[in-house]
Amino acid sequence: MSKVKISTLWFSGCAGCHMSLLDIDEVLIELAGKIELCNSPITDLKVFPEGGVDVTLIEGAVANEEHLHLVKEAREKSKILISFGDCAVTGNVPGLRNGIPTDKLIEDIYGKGTTTNGELPYDVVPHLLDRVRPVHEVVPVEYFLHGCPPPAGVIAKAILALLDGKEPELVGEDLKFG
C-alpha cells in the first residue's frame, strides 16, 4: 500500500500548531510508516508533489497575497483540507488587526520601527490583504482542528482516523477553542 501523502502549510500563525503536531509522541512512529510528509515547514519542501496530496493541514489565517495564492493551490491539490488550529479556523490573533487599515499597520510597524530604517517592505514581502480571513472563508474546508494550539491528542485522533479511512470524530472537548 502506498503511503498517504500529507502536506502542511504555515500561514499567519505562530508555528505553535506545528509544534503540537510534533508533540504527538509515539504516534509519530506509527505515522512514519504510513505517511509521506510532503511540502511542509518541517521538511522545508516548498512545492506540492506532482499529482497533489491526500491531506493538507493549514496552520494560520489567510493574511497576505501569498497565503491567498497558496490556499487556492492547496485546495486544488489536496483531497482533504484541514484548518489546523484557531488561527486557521477563526482568524484568532492575526484577525485582531482587521479594522485597522493595512497602510497604517505597515507604517506603524515598519515605518517607525528601528530594524528597517524606515524602509517599507513592499519589495520583499507579500502585500497584506485588507482583512485577515479564516481558511474556510476563502476555500471549502473538510475538517477543523480547534485549539491554540490543538492538543496533540486531538491531532493524532484526527490523522489516525483519516488514515483508517474514517471520519474524524471531533466532539465535546475536542472542539474547545483556545
Binding site: V93, N98, R131, E173, L175, F177
Partner: protein, 232 residues
C-alpha cells in the same frame, strides 16, 4: 400539592404549576443549553439558545411556562440547526479570541461551542473594535467579548440594587454601559461589589490582573444569595 404532567423528549414528567419549561427540564436532568439565563435572576429570553419545540412552535424554555399536557421537544434537528446558527452569530459578532482570554477554560461561550458542536463559524466575522474600559480600580470590561446577555444588568438591579449597569444604543451598536455611559471608574452608583464579574458568562467582565485562562467565575453566587434572602 397541585401538579401538572407533561412530556419532554418523550419522557412523562410531573411538575409544579408555574414552573418554566427550563426549570422542569433541569429538575429532571434534561440539559437545555442556556446563556442569558442564570438561576437567581429574572429570565428575559434574550439569547434564544434555550429554544424548545412546543406544538410545532419554537419558544424559549426559560420564559415559557410548562403547562399540563404539553409535549415538548428539546433536541430536534431543527432546534440544533438554529442553536448552532445563533452560537455562530455570537462568535461572529465579537472578538471571542479564546487563546488570550482571562476566562478561557471557564467560559460558558467556549463550552457552548463544544456542546453544540460548532466546528466553524460559517457567517462572516464582524471584528468590532470597542474600547476596553479599565477605569475601574479592580475590574475591567472588554465589550468585544460581551454577548449582551444582560446578566450584569439584571444582577446589578435585582440583587445588588445599584442599577449601575444598563443598555445603550440599538442593534449592532447595542452595548452595556455603566451609569449614563460614564467610564466605569467614574460610575458613582457602582458599589464595586463585583457580582457582575462573577455572573458574566464570558471574559467580557473580569478582574484586573487575571491573565490568560486565570479567571474563574462563581456564577452560582447569585443563586446562593437570593436563596438566602428567600429564607429570611
Amino acid at each position: 400539592m397541585e401538579t401538572i404532567t407533561l412530556t419532554i423528549d418523550g419522557r412523562t414528567i410531573t411538575a409544579a404549576p408555574g414552573q418554566s419549561i427550563l426549570e422542569v427540564a433541569e429538575a429532571n436532568g434534561i440539559r437545555i443549553p442556556t446563556l442569558c439565563h442564570l438561576e437567581g435572576l429574572s429570565d428575559v429570553g434574550a439569547c434564544r439558545l434555550c429554544i424548545v419545540e412546543v406544538a410545532g412552535q419554537l419558544v424559549p424554555s426559560c420564559t415559557t411556562q410548562a403547562v399540563d399536557g404539553a409535549d415538548i421537544k428539546t433536541q430536534t434537528d431543527t432546534i440544533k440547526v438554529h442553536r448552532r446558527m445563533i452560537l455562530e452569530l455570537l462568535f461572529a459578532e465579537g472578538n471571542h479570541v479564546c487563546s488570550f482570554c482571562a476566562s478561557s477554560g471557564g467560559c460558558e461561550l467556549q463550552d457552548l461551542a463544544c456542546e453544540l458542536e460548532m466546528h466553524s463559524v460559517t457567517v462572516p466575522y464582524s471584528y468590532p473594535r470597542n474600547r476596553i474600559d479599565a477605569t475601574h480600580p479592580w475590574f475591567l470590561i472588554d465589550r468585544d467579548r460581551c454577548v449582551l446577555c444582560g446578566r450584569c444588568v439584571r444582577t446589578c438591579a435585582e440583587v445588588e440594587g445599584a442599577h449601575t449597569w444598563g443598555f445603550a444604543e440599538r442593534g449592532s451598536s447595542a452595548r452595556v454601559i455603566t451609569d449614563l455611559a460614564a467610564d466605569w471608574g467614574e460610575a458613582e452608583s457602582c458599589t464595586s461589589c463585583g457580582k457582575c464579574v462573577e455572573v458574566c458568562p464570558t471574559g467580557a467582565i473580569v478582574l484586573k490582573g487575571a491573565s490568560n485562562a486565570e479567571m474563574r467565575k462563581d456564577s452560582d453566587l447569585v443563586a446562593r444569595l437570593t436563596e438566602r434572602r428567600d429564607h429570611e
